[in-house]
Amino acid sequence: MRELKYFQAVHEATDLCMAADPSVYVIGLGVTDPKGVFGTTLGLEQKYGGGRVMDMPCAENGMTGVVLGSALAGMRPIMVHQRIDFALLAMEQIVNQAAKWHFMFGGRKSAPLVIRLLVGRGWGQGPQHSQSLHSWFAHVPGLKVVMPSTPQDAKGLLISAVEDDNPVIFIEHRWLHNITGPVPEGMYRAPIGEARVLRRGEDVSIVALSHMALEAHRAAQTLAREGIEAEVIDPRSIRPFDERTVIESVRRTGRLLVADTSWRHAGFAAEIVARVAEELGSRLKCPPRRIGLPECPTPTSPALASEFYPTAADIVSAACEMVQARTGRPAAAAAPHFSDVPDPSFTGPF
């Protein structure tokens, strides 16, 4: 199958949805600019015109209300906030209004809108440009929340999100935009609410969200060399959440390791652990574990990036401990001086 980068997959999904339905439009700070939100909206204004792809004032709260209103009027907006951190300004409109619109008017009107939220990371994004607050949205009935980890799912889930008549939060991790993977041509949908098993294995179930799914996949390869077969599951959607796939997996492996892109405390990893504990209780071979960020805001110094962000190596050592195999961290490949970028092509200032 043809390979695309994640950002290209997001772009292609947007393009196809716009071609298929004239009510789909794209709005957000910078969606028409020369960077095109890390390439995801590049050229769409030229193709569909300024009436369908448009910049906006710096007013996240009000503009989310505007976007909601336009959805009530029959449009299908795709709104983009370049960081979740900026969308904190818009929580009222997202959570009180959009999420509840259908409910609070007794189902008379739905609010079909997609809000793309980007999780920043690297090159000193620091405390206010890197939060991964997906668990907040997952807590809110009325929203659907997806956070695909592969180009194929990015495309399939964005198409599903745009076609969904409910408000859908679509979370993209900045370190996924440049990964490459097979992406089918044309319109296809990834179902919202179904997990994807990225890798089969019998020894431990690693449930990993967004960018951590990538790290988990890497970890699984290392683990395989140590004789440990990890099953890697990307929930893809955290509301609705496909607990069956996770629980069936853990029922087989008896071990659950969850890796999240956010803080552990009161984060979504807790929900995954809780679901499994409620269902499988004492049938686990060892206590479940969570991997997440240390309980502090994101430090800016590049020297602290490797302390702050867990990686495949952390997943490997946790998994090793859980199966009571060798617990040593596998020798890391010659580490770059700083761990604040995913690859050498990722440089500042952004």
Binding site: A20, G62, V66, L68, A71, A73, Q97, G106, K144
Partner: protein, 348 residues
């Protein structure tokens, strides 16, 4: 020529009278419904917060008279008057307050979440300021769809303190959207007077002017002034000249939330209330009608009877309707897509 002129003048006079009578009846209906709600509220069967608009009827009546069913209205916690003036279904409103399945929001929303899509009343919600950008978005969406309609956002002067208000105004001005912003300045936000919330001497409508939006203030207790000012505003908006902001001074008679009077609890004076009571929009309109000869007291009585009968029937409907089944609350969270376009799109 002179005959024609006088015929024209006569028609105009007739139209004026007809309008004045219509506005009067619209206000009277809001008043009597609100009083009916207040009366029944004490029975503790309408178990949700209600924000009555008694005293403020002229703004709703005067503005909504100028709107077609296709024009859209959005409102706030204090929405009853706007809903009724825009043609919202009365039995469904009352049933909503009683939390019944026949309510306009199937009992999910209560008094603070009124809706009547057929009447072009798109929704009301009680987070101060938040429906203003949504209303602007409805206008924007309509524009994108090539539909020709005006969207009116009603709100109180408290809402003009919220950032959402300003963000909405900036966008409406930027895109020259067909939005009528109607601010009912009743001097209070709950129990807080303007003096603790906005700088002295800076009139509310100046905020809109700051955004480059055409803005005016008028007497919100004079329904013909409201109508005249709104008519001019709507002409301007329909001509494509962009949004207009109107501030109407008015006064709420009863407590912020609930059916009672509360002038004794100390946040405002009985005297202030009495002064405003003499400016009752309905009484002023009645006086003028009697003077100008387009209204007779007998007619007021007849209309009152009609409205009371309508209200009684609506109350009966509301009170006798069933409560929603418990399943409905979980069913109402998400909509599953059934629209034909999606089927078409999926087949493609």
């Amino acid at each position: 020529m002179s005959t024609l002129n006088s015929v024209g003048a006569q028609t105009e006079v007739q139209a004026h009278k007809k309008l004045a009578r219509r506005l009067f009846r619209s206000m009277l209906r809001i008043r009597l419904v609100e009083e009916g709600v207040a009366q029944r509220y004490a029975e503790q069967q309408m178990r949700c917060p209600v924000h009555l608009c008694i005293g403020q009827e002229a703004v709703a009546a005067g503005v909504c008279d100028l709107l077609s069913a296709d024009d859209q209205v959005m409102s706030t916690h204090r929405a009853h008057g706007h809903y009724l003036a825009k043609g919202g279904n009365l039995p469904a409103m009352l049933a909503e307050m009683y939390g019944k399945s026949t309510g306009c929001s199937s009992g999910m929303g209560g008094s603070m979440h009124l809706v009547d899509l057929e009447a072009g009343f798109l929704g009301a919600a009680p987070i101060v300021g938040s429906t203003i950008p949504i209303a602007v978005g409805v206008a924007f969406g309509s524009l994108l769809r090539g539909e020709d309609r005006v969207v009116t956002a009603f709100f109180g002067e408290g809402a003009t303190e919220e950032g959402a208000f300003h963000e909405a105004l900036n966008f409406a001005a930027l895109k020259r959207l067909p939005v009528l912003f109607v601010c009912e300045n009743n001097l209070y936000s709950v129990y807080s007077p303007l003096s603790v919330r906005q700088p002295p001497g800076r009139e509310v409508f100046r905020l809109a002017a700051g955004h480059g939006i055409e803005s005016r203030r008028g007497d919100g207790n004079d329904v013909s002034e409201v109508h005249a000012v709104a008519e001019e505003a709507l002409q301007r908006i329909r001509s494509g000249a962009g949004p207009v902001f109107l501030e109407f001074g008015t006064y709420r008679w009863r407590e912020h939330c609930g059916p009672n009077y509360d002038n004794h609890i100390g946040y405002r004076t009985e005297e202030e209330f009495r002064r405003w009571r003499t400016l009752c929009p309905i009484e002023r309109s009645r006086q003028r009608g009697l003077e100008e000869g387009w209204l007779a007291d007998a007619e007021v009585d007849r209309w009152s009877d009609e409205i009371r009968a309508e209200l009684a029937a609506a109350m009966d409907f509301a009170r006798s309707s069933p409560f929603p089944e418990s399943r409905t609350m979980l069913d109402a969270v998400y909509v599953e897509r059934k629209s034909p376009t999606s089927a078409k799109r999926r087949a493609a």
